[in-house]
């Protein structure tokens, strides 16, 4: 009887002391360490931890406070798992804020069920569903990844500029695929294009020839694939090439990967697509820092993860405390102008400026500039398959 009481008491003491920031501040990192993007998340988390370590090592963060990141699994697909993980971080570990979640569906769940009701700041580096722009978040939800509404717009412009008027769309049947497909179709139709067929596909099937048969019968010559490169998206492309249904594909970020060009690069010349990111010098700086820490910085959402963590650090510094309620109002201040521009690796400089009462404008690895609803405006690379590999054409 005594032991559970004791444990609870100890936990409570730990939790409250951490939240009130004696010498450590706990922050949560909720990514899908298991599930469909488990190959991406370890480096994303490492990139976020890189920023926390950088800030802690300066000794300038909140008068020498160190940051202790705690990882938890979002599973990417299971809202219940992600919600439980975030709940535990907030109540048991007493984190000041959370970096995450990663996939759009679980991020919505964590925001609605845990973060917003409990008043905890949530910064996602990779949730891109347009629906997240409209959730009731009391200003607590931010994302360093741009909304797919933007990607749909950019991609539609590129397609139209290439003189393509009629296309068919297939998307993976989840929040990401549907959101991107909707934003792309409306942008494309607004530009005068016509979408003759929109069909979803389920990931994890063995065979997509029926889907491809229907899509090709629509009469469109080009197929837009909004799916995952190691899942159904690849199956759709394989079945299209096998049946000779389509040769040129329009691809979104989830479909741009080397595994695709390795398998079918020679069979899909001229296929093109968009990928968040830019070629700025700041990006190169970040990739070097990441490399030194043993992270592959060029992969998807590494820069965004670093930026999410860095923004959280600067916001806490700006607020002057790690109180949950104090952090949120400071995020916009440090993310946007006015102020001294801060690039990756310059957290020490930023912490000093803020400590002296100055203003910073965090740019980071991915040119962070928050829109009114707290999400990155976003830059996109236009890529095309040339000689069996993706080549970057321009940045928009």
């Amino acid at each position: 009887m005594r032991k559970p009481l004791l444990t609870t008491a100890v936990l409570y003491a730990l939790a409250t002391s951490a939240a009130q920031a004696g010498d450590t501040v706990k922050v949560g990192i909720v990514f899908g360490f298991t599930g469909p993007i488990e190959s991406l998340t370890p480096d994303m988390a490492a990139a976020a931890e890189l920023a926390f370590k950088e800030a802690s090592d300066t000794g300038l963060f909140l008068d020498g406070t160190t940051i202790e990141p705690i990882r938890a699994d979002s599973s990417c697909v299971d809202a219940a798992v992600a919600t439980a993980a975030a709940e535990r971080l907030i109540t048991a570990d007493g984190v000041a804020a959370i970096i995450g979640a990663d996939c759009s569906g679980v991020t919505t769940a964590v925001a609605n069920n845990v973060a917003v009701p409990k008043g905890v700041l949530l910064i996602s580096p990779s949730a891109t569903s347009p629906a997240l722009s409209d959730i009731t978040d009391n200003g607590l939800f931010f994302r360093t990844a741009p909304s797919d509404a933007r990607q749909g717009q950019v991609l539609a412009e590129i397609v139209k500029e290439r003189g393509i008027d009629t296309i068919a769309i297939t998307y993976t049947n989840n929040d990401y695929g549907r959101g991107l497909s909707d934003s792309f179709s409306s942008a494309f139709e607004a530009l005068g294009g016509s979408v003759v067929m929109t069909a979803s596909h389920e990931d994890g099937r063995a065979d997509y020839s029926a889907e491809v048969g229907a899509l090709s019968a629509s009469g469109a010559e080009h197929l837009a694939v909004f799916g995952y490169v190691d899942q159904g998206g690849k199956g759709i492309i394989e079945a299209s090439i096998d049946a000779g249904a389509f040769d040129t594909f329009i691809l979104a970020d989830g479909m741009i990967g080397e595994s695709l060009t390795e398998a079918f690069g020679a069979d899909m010349p001229g296929s093109f697509g968009t990928l968040p990111g830019s070629d700025s010098p700041a990006r190169a700086t970040f990739e070097e820092m990441a490399k030194a820490a043993g992270i592959i910085g060029s992969g998807p959402y590494r820069g965004e993860s670093y930026d999410a963590a860095a923004l959280l650090v600067l916001a806490m510094q700006k607020a002057g405390s790690a109180e949950r309620s104090a952090i949120q109002p400071a995020v916009m201040d440090v993310a946007n102008a006015p102020g001294e521009k801060i690039f990756p690796g310059e957290l020490e400089k930023a912490l000093t400026i803020i400590a002296e009462g100055g203003d910073v404008d965090y740019v980071g690895a991915t040119d962070v500039e928050f829109t009114e609803v707290g999400e990155a405006a976003g830059a996109y690379k236009e890529v095309e398959v040339k000689d069996g590999a993706f080549a970057t054409l321009s940045v928009r």
Binding site: N173, M197, A199, S200, H201, E202, G204, R205, A206, D207, S209, A210, E211, G213, A214, L215, S216, A217, S218, G219, D230, G235, D242, A243, G244, A245
Partner: protein, 337 residues
Amino acid sequence: MDGFLNATVLLSNFVLVPGLAYGAQLALGALGVTLVYRVLRFANLSHGDLMAFGAMLGVLSTWALQAAGVSIAPLPTALLALPLAILGTALMSLFIETAVYRHHRLRRSAPAIFMIVSVGVMFMLNGLVRVVIGPDDQRFADGARFIVRARDFEAMTGLSEGLSIRVSQGITFAVAMAAVAALFYFLNRSRAGKAMRAYADNEDLALLSGIDPDRVVRHTWIIAAALAAIAGTLYGLDKSFKPFTYFQLLLPVFAAAIVGGIGNPVGAIVGGFVVSFSEIGLTYAYKKFLTYLVPPAWAPEGLMQLIATDYKFAISFAILVIVLLIRPTGILPGRVL
């Protein structure tokens, strides 16, 4: 005339060729189900995962052969691995028979109990496959990929529609036909096959005429395992190997067995093709096909698709329900085993 040719090629490319290959895979699976149902008198729900197990052995032996530098290009190495897969799967199902089903057979348990037991076996096999090879997609196809490429066909014939036939589709069809021929020869001509039919027809009478029941049961399991291994490996070769897809395959396989009249081998084959052509034919969009055939003014505006591809699995389920409601004995009743 060109319009008619184009329409024919279009339909062959998207419905006929894929339908024949898929139908052959379902037919092999349904034959295994039907055989076990007829001889051992229960619905073996673990058949889908037995196919996954066989396919896994096929994948592993293919990798071993590839590593050893064995190749029969342009044919896929998996064809050489097939006997190994069959052997392994047969041993596995004999092991399951001794360890699990034998107990219930000696106690003369009700068919419903056998069926529930087979669900347990299904989960065990399911887990075993995942532990050994993992839940992910595995590729093991090698050799030439196409018999006819769509683009080459267009260039050759001058038509605007291409026809593509993959090597895996050709092999699936050929191997399935060979397996079916061998099975029918065994059932109708060999002594063991006749014993099996006698046992299936009337167990007590067969025992009286000196047929060894254990032998018959063993033969049944070996043949069911061989069919499962062949169907599983061919399906993996033609589409892709992923353990979970075999669990999904269970429904169309059972639908095929029941449509044709469960217990009837010819019915299982017919059923396989009925299910495969229903799935593909009903979800295909006929807009382009009709555009080729009718005068331009009549060309359809819509997609002319009966059912969205999302409902592919629902089709086999619907077939199953309709057949059980209207004609529970299947479309080819009477002539069993």
